[in-house]
């Protein structure tokens, strides 16, 4: 079934880690297998990379700790070999890390594809996100346990999306958890509830354009599809409108960039989404109960219609 949620504050930064946790926890019944966050903090010159070196349910053999240490050393070594200046390295869990780095190129973005490819070449390593403000955190369990594990309660920012997953078509692991970063594009992420029926068509097409996918999940297609359109000059809204023509199936997805958040529904409006909008905040979720987890007052909400695309700037 799965549940999705999004939150964008238009009046500055808030404790979005805490707020999104409340929203996602209230929808635990829609998906207890894993929980994921795409959080947008203040945009800076530096790049934040979130990655894992193992899954939380990877069997712990005797060599597991040594292997993690060895692979982590390789990550740092490879980043330095690519010219990155590393400012901070945090072990969020024994297998999940957060690195703040700076790249030598003019705009500070450098070649994210080269970084992601080089890092993911290390066995069992998966880059969850790379960007100036985007940080993707996902793990097994409900929102409270993931937030506690990664200390997300104090994360401040302007907008965020999240997902609670009921695994139906792929394994219960971190790579099957949402949100998906639009590898290799900076600061684009997607959460999705539904099924794409032309997944393989678009996967082949995007692979022919040089893209690589980190998972077997159809939701990742949406993220890469949108990011590619935007890299060709389309706005997020235009890319989302085009996606309604190109993607087949039943879906509601929330896409997010460093300064905007949008939602799109398929032509059947088969997957739920409830929306609240005011001058200060836009909150949307698969169930109204999630919106009320952060807005404890009477509010007027509505369901977007079929083939509808709505985008808000922060």
């Amino acid at each position: 079934m799965c549940g999705i949620a999004g939150l964008i504050y238009r009046d500055g930064t808030h404790e979005i880690g805490r707020d999104l946790t409340r929203m996602l926890q209230s929808m635990k019944h829609r998906g207890p297998d894993s929980t994921g966050y795409a959080l947008y903090g203040p945009r800076g010159h530096r790049i934040v990379m979130r990655y894992t070196l193992a899954d939380s349910n990877t069997p712990r053999d005797f060599e597991f700790p040594d292997r993690l240490r060895r692979h982590q050393a390789q990550v740092v070594e490879r980043l330095r070999a690519l010219g990155a200046t590393i400012h901070d390295v945090e072990a969020e869990t024994e297998y999940a890390y957060r690195i703040v780095l700076e790249l030598p190129s003019q705009n500070g973005t450098g070649d994210l594809k080269a970084i992601a490819d080089r890092i993911e070449d290390i066995p069992d390593c998966e880059v969850l996100s790379l960007g100036h403000s985007l940080e993707i955190v996902k793990d097994l369990g409900d929102a409270e346990s993931v937030a506690h594990q990664y200390e997300l309660g104090g994360f401040t920012g302007t907008h965020a999306i999240g997902h609670v997953r009921m695994a139906t078509e792929s394994d219960v692991d971190i790579s099957g958890a949402h949100p998906y970063w639009a590898y290799p594009f900076s600061d684009v992420a997607v959460v999705h509830n539904g099924q794409l029926t032309n997944y393989f068509h678009w996967k082949r097409r995007l692979e022919r354009s040089g893209h690589r996918f980190q998972s077997e999940c159809d939701s990742e297609i949406i993220a890469v599809y949108l990011a590619e359109k935007m890299s060709e000059g389309a706005s997020l809204e235009d890319a989302m409108h085009t996606s309604l023509e190109d993607l087949d199936g039943v879906f509601t997805y929330i896409a997010v960039t460093d300064d905007a958040l949008g939602v799109a529904k398929d032509e059947m409006a088969a997957k739920p989404l409830v929306l609240y909008e005011s001058d200060e905040v836009v909150a949307l979720a698969s169930e109204e109960i999630a919106i009320r987890a952060v807005l404890d007052r009477e509010i007027e909400t509505y369901d977007p219609y079929e083939s509808e695309v709505l985008v808000w700037q922060r």
């Binding site: 032509e267 059947m268 009320r292 909400t301 509505y302 369901d303 079929e306």
Partner: protein, 262 residues
């Protein structure tokens, strides 16, 4: 921004929520009317309190404050009574009801009033998708907009929508009436068997076997009567849509019957 307090719900081995919950007995009762605050209560506690008041205390006028968009509130009420929900309901609210007169001051989520048998429900705000699914009787009035597939599999009763309706409204409608005061999305009345759909605004597209119908005095009488009952003012001009009777072969024998005959 303040947050709602945490609610812990217990489940038994079958996954049933709060199997040992009891009515919290929190309602204030005065002059034959009862009021209680649903904010700190779970879904099961709210429904148990409602049932206690209606069936054990014999109260016929109950107000539920702050339902907080919780799911499955007010289901299975099978008695004549007046209920007022001050706030919004989540999914599957007011399902399987037979007889009550209900006002919801906020919004209702997906599948509100599913399988409603009789009574009246008035929703002051919007409704989600599948509103009035498989409804069999009574009147359901949504003053705002409704989501997709409103009146799906409807078998009787009347659904009145003050605003717009989403795609596939009246999908597989079998009997009863849908009155849409705003616009209707694509696939209106798709695969309908029978029944009538009235739309005041534009129709994005008609579904399979849904065709314009001939307006009669009975239609005028019905629409005016319903608008008058619910204080909706003067009715706008409506277009009428009915089943074209081309999709289903009502008069043909089933394959098994044909074997017997032949």
């Amino acid at each position: 921004m303040s947050a709602v307090g945490e609610r812990r719900i217990t489940y038994d081995a079958r996954g049933l929520a709060e199997p040992h919950a009891e009515a919290p007995r929190v309602a204030e009762i005065a002059d034959g009317r009862a009021t209680f605050d649903a904010h700190p209560l779970t879904t099961r506690q709210i429904n148990l309190e409602l049932r206690r008041l209606l069936y054990e205390e014999g109260i016929t006028d109950v107000t539920v404050q702050n339902p907080g968009a919780k799911h499955s509130i007010g289901v299975g009420i099978l008695t004549r009574c007046k209920l007022r929900f001050e706030g919004s309901l989540g999914y599957f609210g007011l399902g399987l009801i037979d007889g009550p007169e209900i006002v919801v001051t906020g919004r209702v989520g997906w599948s509100a009033c599913e399988n409603m048998m009789s009574g009246v429900v008035v929703v002051e705000s919007n409704a989600g998708s599948l509103t009035g699914a498989a409804m069999r009787g009574g009147d359901l009035v949504v003053k705002g907009r409704v989501g997709a597939r409103t009146g799906i599999d409807q078998k009787g009763g009347t659904i009145i929508v003050g605003g717009d309706a989403g795609s596939m409204t009246g999908f597989m409608l079998q009997r009863g009436r849908l009155i849409i005061c705003g616009n209707a999305g694509p696939g209106l009345g798709d695969s309908m068997y029978d029944g009538t759909i009235y739309v005041a605004g534009t129709v994005k597209s008609l579904g399979i076997d849904c065709v314009p119908g001939e307006w009669t005095d009975a239609d005028t009488e019905l629409v005016e009567r319903k608008f008058s009952i619910y204080g909706l003012g003067s009715p706008p001009a409506f277009q009428k849509f009915v089943c074209g009777k081309k999709l289903y072969n009502y008069d043909n024998l089933e394959p098994a019957e044909r074997k017997l005959v032949l």
